[in-house]
């Protein structure tokens, strides 16, 4: 197919694809799935962190956390808009989320159990997210690439804030340090899972790479994450909960153990610590907010009708 070939050549040439342009159906569908899943993750991701806003330990930390969660809602908004340029509405995407058809990042099915978890999420989860997202700033679909530029800037800010929380805890009382270690112990493996299973196991990777909507293999990114994070843990004086972890001089990176992938697949299947609660929270927010959205819509119609009626009345 020459059209398809031309499309691929533009991508190989590093050009951006824009909303009104022709694109293969598979490209469109894959992007919709990927972007909406990312948007849903931002939205659901508000919940575990939002869980500590009312309990943040200082006014300053409370403001920072609130601003962070607000940023996440903002990221959700950009991403839904980016996905909408591909011909799907936000309401359709919500419907897919609420029915369980669409996924969101499994990491948000873990609970936040102490204030240190807020630090660990910023440090590890945002850290892993950035590693996934930085290359996407150069991806082939224009609106997605541009959304990513904005998001990555904020995410790296969040990651520093998370690390700062951990750093203060690790310099604090024995109890605080234990809290930080406990958080690292619980969030380490789920963070490694964020890059997905080894690419051998992943079906869509090759095509997505050809389309330049995925640039690095899951394993490469995971290696990069481990290599970046381990020295930070050392700096904090914390222990990464992986007995197999050690520096491999030859490869210039760490050797490390594999996460429990059965846990990963269980969570994807709905059996995570908080799957039900996260989904219920979003469904409840949506369903109980129906009257609110309907009210605004009804007002907008009335207002439009009134506006339209004015000249008639004046005639």
């Amino acid at each position: 197919d020459p059209v398809e070939r031309a499309f691929q050549e533009r991508i190989d040439d590093g050009q951006k694809i824009e909303p009104k342009e022709w694109m293969p159906e598979g490209y469109r569908k894959t992007l919709i799935r990927q972007i909406s899943q990312h948007a849903h993750s931002e939205i659901v991701g508000q919940l575990p962190e939002g869980n500590w806003i009312t309990r943040a330990p200082t006014l300053e930390r409370k403001a920072i956390l609130l601003a962070k969660v607000q940023d996440e809602a903002g990221h959700g908004l950009y991403l839904y808009c980016a996905a909408e340029t591909l011909g799907i509405s936000r309401d359709e995407m919500y419907e897919q989320l609420h029915s369980g058809k669409a996924k969101y990042s499994s990491i948000f099915n873990y609970p936040t159990l102490s204030w240190a978890d807020i630090g660990a999420i910023g440090w590890l989860v945002d850290g892993a997210a950035i590693m996934n997202q930085v290359p996407l700033q150069r991806c082939s679909y224009g609106p997605y690439a541009r959304a990513m530029v904005r998001i990555c800037k904020e995410e790296s800010f969040h990651q520093r804030q998370g690390f700062d929380i951990m750093n203060v805890l690790c310099k604090g009382t024995e109890e605080q340090k234990a809290m930080a270690q406990d958080a690292l112990s619980r969030w380490w493996w789920p963070s490694l899972m964020m890059f997905g299973p080894s690419d051998n196991a992943s079906v869509h990777s090759a095509q997505s790479m050809a389309w330049n909507i995925k640039q690095d293999s899951n394993d490469e990114l995971r290696q990069k994450f481990v290599d970046q994070t381990v020295p930070q843990a050392t700096f904090l004086g914390l222990t990464v909960p992986d007995a197999e972890l050690k520096w491999n001089e030859e490869k210039g990176g760490h050797d490390f153990g594999q996460p429990d992938w059965s846990e990963f697949f269980e969570i994807i299947a709905g059996n995570g610590p908080c799957n039900r609660e996260r989904l219920e929270a979003r469904q409840t927010a949506w369903n109980e907010g129906a009257w609110f959205r309907d009210g605004l819509t009804a007002y907008a119609k009335k207002a439009a009708a009134r506006k339209a009626a004015v000249p008639v009345a004046a005639e």
């Binding site: 009312t54 006014l59 609130l66 605080q176």
Partner: protein, 255 residues
């Protein structure tokens, strides 16, 4: 810190302002991730953020003015309910989103003209805080008027919910215009306007907005009161138990 502070009433006034901002921010932040639309999640978080910022300024002033070595954080995290001075209105439960919107509106319609008046306070730190906060409050008021009008004049269900919110919250508004001896002193020294003086502007804002919203203000003049003496509703204790947990459970720790 630094500059001298005129009267002892300032510490109490700053506490009242700071606590009111803090508790309303707390209530708004409870919605985080649960609002009926993504735009509302963002807007509510924004309002909460502004209010926490204002709470930090007011409580910082209160701490300086009382001169007992406390900080904004220790005031926020280490006082029990009887020491809190926030308006009863802002500690009322969120209810449905309509009640949250209505609470914010009834507050903003009072808060904005108060801050405008405080910009000319004889106490410069009060004036400085008001200068910054009034810009934020102007925006909050604009937004809450807009929502009240649209939801009031929306569907019959949205109107009924907004009317019910107004009816329930109304008895908590009278307190905003009541004065005690500290208010009298603050008015005399030109530090803050007399509370009753704010009523005409509040009523004018309500008159316009409720008319556009097709809502009707209740006729009762009954007003809950007590917050200026630390006598609150039963809700505040639960808010503080949650908010203060870490500071209480790990005394002296830095975060």
């Amino acid at each position: 810190m630094g500059a001298p502070i005129a009267t002892s009433g300032i510490a109490e006034f700053a506490l009242r302002m700071g606590d009111t901002c803090l508790i309303l921010a707390h209530r708004n932040s409870e919605w985080c991730g649960h609002a009926p639309a993504l735009e509302e999640d963002i807007a509510l978080a924004n309002t909460a953020l502004d209010l926490i910022g204002q709470a930090q300024l007011w409580l910082g002033l209160a701490a300086d003015a009382e001169g007992r070595g406390r900080s904004a954080d220790s005031l926020a995290y280490l006082r029990d309910a009887a020491g809190y001075r926030n308006l009863l209105l802002v500690e009322q439960p969120n209810g449905d989103f309509g009640r949250t919107v209505m609470r914010q509106f009834l507050f903003d319609a009072w808060h904005y003209p108060l801050l405008v008046a405080l910009k000319t306070s004889s106490e410069h730190r009060v004036a400085e805080i008001a200068e910054k906060a009034s810009k934020e409050a102007a925006y909050h008021l604009e937004r809450s008027v807009d929502l009240v009008v649209r939801l009031g004049d929306g569907t019959s269900e949205s109107r009924q919910r907004m009317q019910s919110a107004l009816d329930v919250l109304w008895p908590y508004t009278g307190e905003m215009f009541l004065a005690d001896s500290i208010d009298d002193e603050l008015a005399e020294t030109g530090i803050a306007p007399a509370p009753r003086g704010l009523r005409p502007a509040w009523e004018a804002t309500l008159g316009r907005a409720l008319a556009d919203a097709t809502l009707k203000a209740p006729e009762t003049t009954f007003a809950h009161k007590g917050s200026k003496r630390g006598v609150h509703s039963e809700h505040l204790g639960y808010i503080l138990a949650e908010m203060q947990f870490l500071q209480r459970a790990y005394p002296g720790a830095k975060w």
